[in-house]
């Protein structure tokens, strides 16, 4: 062995002077956060100039679906993972700018945009925020209902990833290999609905209609809550992880083992790779961006929220996203909000809730509607300080 080389290296390393790097690291972290929030696409710049122009359009009326708060007896198993949502057709999701083929579009580059414009909200009152936001810290999940200002603990002591139903009334998690489903309400026990389930690579993901859960057993599959039947995903998708449904139920967005993203339609036997993210070619991914998890998808599968990472990292820990990715181009969507993005999540209707924190440590919630209007931007209640945003529901 080369003990002499080891000794020499240690001797050389001893020459470095100690330094307190805390303040500098935190400042740089905030700069990184601001840069990531400012990174965007040409399309997003148009969004800044004309919100609601259509380039960042989320389909109107996607809330026309009627999510089943309770398992629907009519939702029996069919051979497609999208079978249940096919019973509830939604308005057209056609988007002119969408690239649907497998040909990679040219990468426009993830470069910071010169504009730092932020949108003006219709309301700055937190009680105008409809729906419910779910947060997590450790094994505790809380439900914030801004309308009445209440924050309720709905789950404690879990070590599993947790899925929240689109209506916010139910949650699903894994305990000792059993998939547990129960009310998202204090003190209401969950019931086991399946066994042999793991949650490390796949949080239980609710279908937009609330009657199915995408879970991982031996491989990823869709569990029908009424019939308890499980439909495995096609072979070409079994290598995917962290699947999430689009709000119309017609797309799945998922992470690949290389910390890239993929998109699959309901009839597809395999997915289409999202460009850029996870790509190790410098020409295609100059910033070394990666996404090891998908956490929520917009109404049509055009955009997905992810914890933004760099190539070479692993998917660990939280389901909290801090970036929105265009699934056609792999570009990061610029969010017209102030401060650093510390949480972002779509609901099944295409609303996007963004959580930001400024240099004074003030945390705000911004809700963008399906028409891209900034509906509400207000200071977040202190009751969820220290928690991570994991879901937004009706």
């Amino acid at each position: 062995m080369s003990d002499a080389l080891r000794d020499s290296l240690r001797d050389l390393a001893d020459q470095v002077e100690p330094a307190d790097l805390y303040d500098g690291a935190v400042r740089r972290s905030r700069r990184i956060a601001r840069r990531e929030a400012a990174v965007g696409t040409a399309a997003a710049v148009v969004v800044l100039a004309a919100l609601g122009s259509g380039l960042w359009r989320l389909p109107h009326g996607s809330g026309a679906s009627s999510p089943a708060a309770a398992p629907s007896p009519s939702a029996t198993a069919e051979p497609s993972w999208a079978a249940s949502v096919q019973q509830h057709p939604l308005p057209s999701m056609a988007a002119p700018s969408r690239t649907t083929g497998k040909t990679r579009p040219p990468h426009r580059g993830n470069r910071p945009q010169p504009s730092a414009t932020t949108a003006t909200p219709l309301s700055r009152i937190i009680t105008d925020l409809p729906g419910h936001a779910f947060y997590r810290a450790g094994g505790t999940v809380v439900k914030l209902s801004p309308a009445d200002g209440r924050t309720r603990t709905v789950l404690t002591g879990t070590t599993s990833a947790v899925g929240i139903s689109p209506d916010g009334d139910h949650l699903a998690y894994v305990a000792d290999g059993a998939l547990m489903v129960g009310p998202a309400a204090p003190g209401r026990p969950a019931q086991p609905v399946a066994t042999g389930v793991t949650a490390s690579d796949q949080a239980p993901a609710w279908s937009p209609t609330g009657d199915r859960l995408l879970v991982t057993l031996a491989g990823p599959g869709v569990l029908d809550l009424a019939s308890r039947e499980i439909t495995p995903l096609p072979e070409g998708l079994t290598a995917g992880q962290h699947f999430r449904w689009s709000g119309d139920g017609n797309k799945l967005v998922y992470a690949t083992s290389g910390c890239g993203l993929g998109v699959a339609g309901s009839e597809d036997q395999s997915g289409t790779a999202v460009p850029v993210l996870g790509d190790t070619q410098v020409a295609d991914n100059p910033d070394g961006l990666a996404a090891c998890k998908a956490t929520s998808v917009d109404a049509t599968g055009e955009r997905v929220t992810v914890p933004l990472q760099t190539t070479g990292e692993d998917a660990v820990g939280t389901d909290t996203a801090d970036a929105v990715v265009d699934t056609a181009t792999g570009d990061l969507v610029r969010l017209p909000v102030p401060g650093s993005v510390v949480g972002a999540v779509f609901d099944a209707d295409g609303n996007l809730l963004v959580r930001t924190r400024d240099d004074d440590d003030v945390t705000k919630l911004s809700l963008f509607g399906p028409d891209n209007t900034l509906k509400v931007q207000a200071t977040e209640p202190a009751s969820v300080r220290g928690f991570d945003l994991i879901a937004y529901t009706r």
Binding site: M1, S2, D3, A4, L5, R6, D7, S8, L9, R10, D11, L12, A13, D14, Q15, V16, E17, P18, A19, D20, L21, Y22, G24, A25, V26, R28, S29, R31, I32, A33, V282, N285, P286, D287, G288, P307, Q309, T310, T311, G312, E313, V316, G317, T318, T320, D322, R385, G386, D388
Partner: protein
């Protein structure tokens, strides 16, 4: 400062010395080492919420640090060194009390002639005592790449430091 931030501050202040030592070998310069560690710590701060245990944080931070230094899409920052600086030091002798200091200086300069990846494998294998498998996982390359880079790095060091005692037995595990 909330509990999470306090945990991060504790992590930074307890682990920075060790990180700086590795970074100094990677960059050959105090300020560049601080810059590299600060970058890794900043990225770790960004990811702090999803790093569930302190050992995860250190592993994450080291991985970011090595990737930041060897990633081909970033221009590695290292101290500059000129070939002429490798001229043999005639004043050096076996009994010279300054020999250790001279060898240290020569080793630092020799390390800087390696590629970023070669320097990384030398630091990982012979300073951090990582196995080839661990080094490969940390750098995101194959084990054979680690073996190849290690062999080439040692050859290079032997070329630029032909008389260095430290390299006579160096081979790897």
């Amino acid at each position: 400062m909330d509990a999470r931030e306090a945990d991060y501050a504790h992590f930074v202040r307890t682990r920075s010395p060790a990180l700086l030592r590795s970074a100094y070998l990677l960059t050959g310069d105090q300020h560049l080492a601080e810059d590299l560690v600060q970058e890794a710590l900043a990225r770790t701060h960004r990811a702090w919420g999803r790093l569930e245990r302190p050992e995860h944080a250190e592993a994450y931070c080291r991985k970011v640090m090595y990737h930041a230094q060897v990633s081909f899409w970033r221009r590695p920052k290292v101290a500059e060194v000129l070939p002429a600086e490798f001229a043999p030091d005639e004043r050096r002798g076996a009994d010279d009390p300054a020999e250790a200091a001279v060898e240290r200086l020569l080793l630092r300069r020799a390390l800087l002639t390696l590629s970023a990846k070669q320097r990384a494998v030398i630091v990982l294998r012979f300073f951090e005592d990582r196995t080839e498998v661990e080094a490969a996982q940390l750098l995101g390359v194959s084990v054979s790449t680690v073996k190849t880079q290690t062999a080439r790095a040692l050859d290079r060091l032997r070329t630029v430091l032909p008389e260095a005692r430290m390299l006579r037995e160096a081979g790897g595990r």
